[in-house]
Amino acid sequence: MNSLDPRVQRLNMAADTDNELHTNSHLITWEVFHQEKRGKQVVHVGIVHAPNPEMALILAKEQYARRGKTTNLWVAKTADVYTFSTGDDDMFATIPEKTFRDPASYKVRDRIEKFQQQNNLV
């Protein structure tokens, strides 16, 4: 092949290439979790295809840790991760409002001031 690329020129592609396309079966996928710094949460970032956990970690390092900061990576077989269905997300909407779980909804200052005025504590 007449190419501008010296590496392509060096390959004897015509002689080497077996033109049959073999469809391989698949390597399994691994879900990858990334921890940026010590003390931070470990966060899901994506997947890699790999035959075993060791290779999955090596490929995850190339794919998800080649720039920026990384302290650790975790991998888990996709098949071992159990999930709800995204379409069932209404089950998390149990009651219309949950202000009783919200610190900002507890306001006592008005009551304290009123009490202080009534009892001459100011």
Partner: protein, 329 residues
């Protein structure tokens, strides 16, 4: 366009006909998108939505993989060590982006092996721009600045789409591409402010890439079939002409300010803020996309060679008792 959403008249007609879908589910799906929510892999989705997304994300992934080839050509001949490091990193990123995009497409049910096969047997396409050669080092500068600039325009727009895994992949990709763009600009400015030989080499490269860059966003709106569904479903978010105009608006001034030119006397911004240019020969675009470009054969032959030469490694790693499962997100 990186991932093409250009339809034939027939495809557009089929897309707009959703009579075969469950009306209630379709309504809930469209309402969710209208509210600005994302669709996740295990949600119900219309068959055409799945099909068009697979096609678009797959083409985008192939574009990243094939796009690494013209640039890879110059790794061995980069002019200094810093440029060589940056180019290696960029090419590595492009392959990584391909992997992220294949992952996103896989969540829709097409396996990665099938996508790689379809690239090699010519069933699925990749961006036309990579069927042109990088003749000199200055082509690397122009690719890094203008081709990546065009890709970013396209990708930033697509990252506002409705499919969760594609958006997540694109956010990560756009973040990394900003380094590609900056190093490309640096490279262009360095050549533009250098010796006469360097300037001439850069100008020649700009002249070579001008037409492929106009082709990048696909045929003009008046020449392509439309589907209101693709827009409504937020698969396509801007028309080809709008994206092309946005690109010209951002990048033409950055070339002109260096005292360089484009090989088109009709390139100018009109009073309405719309860029006008000479007809970039859409027949050439069609010819090249259908296989008759300067590098189509080489690109596929190299990809095929890599597949064949690496097969024994993949086969050696295969564990026959493992069962493939579609990734989660």
């Amino acid at each position: 366009m990186y991932g093409s959403t250009n339809l034939t008249e027939q495809e557009a007609k089929r897309m707009n006909d959703t009579s075969a879908e469950d009306a209630d589910k379709l309504q809930a799906f469209e309402d969710r998108i209208a509210r600005g929510e994302k669709i996740e892999p295990d949600d119900w989705m219309p068959a055409e939505y799945r099909k068009q997304l697979i096609r678009m994300i797959e083409q985008h992934a192939h574009s990243e993989i094939v796009g690494a080839l013209p640039e890879g050509t110059w790794i061995t001949r980069a002019p200094n060590f810093r440029r060589k490091l940056a180019l290696i990193a960029k090419v590595q990123d492009e392959i990584g982006h391909g992997q992220l995009l294949y992952s996103a497409a896989e969540t829709l049910g097409k396996t990665r092996e099938q996508m790689l096969d379809d690239l090699m047997n010519g069933k699925s396409k990749y961006s036309n721009v990579f069927n042109y050669p990088a003749v000199t080092w200055a082509d690397i500068a122009v690719i890094g600045f203008l081709v990546d600039g065009a890709a970013i325009v396209n990708q930033v727009i697509n990252s506002k789409g409705s499919y969760g895994p594609y958006c997540r992949a694109l956010e990560r990709i756009c973040y990394e591409e900003s380094f590609h763009l900056k190093q490309g600009h640096d490279n262009v400015v360095y050549l533009a402010t250098g010796s006469k030989i360097q300037r001439d080499m850069l100008q020649a490269a700009i002249n070579r890439w001008y037409r492929p860059l106009l082709h990048f966003f696909g045929p003009p709106d008046k020449m392509s079939a439309h589907s209101e569904k693709l827009m409504k479903w937020k698969v396509k978010l801007a028309s080809n002409d709008d994206m092309r105009n946005q690109f010209l608006d951002q990048y033409v001034p950055k070339i002109l300010e260096l005292g360089l030119t484009f090989p088109d006397p009709n390139l100018r911004k009109n009073a309405d803020g719309v860029w006008e240019f000479s007809d970039p020969d859409w027949d050439e675009f069609k010819r090249v996309i259908n296989g008759d470009g300067p590098c189509n054969k080489e690109r596929l032959a190299v990809r095929r060679y890599a597949e064949m030469a690496g097969r024994w490694v993949r086969e050696a790693l295969m564990n026959p008792s493992d069962k493939y499962k579609i990734p989660l997100a």
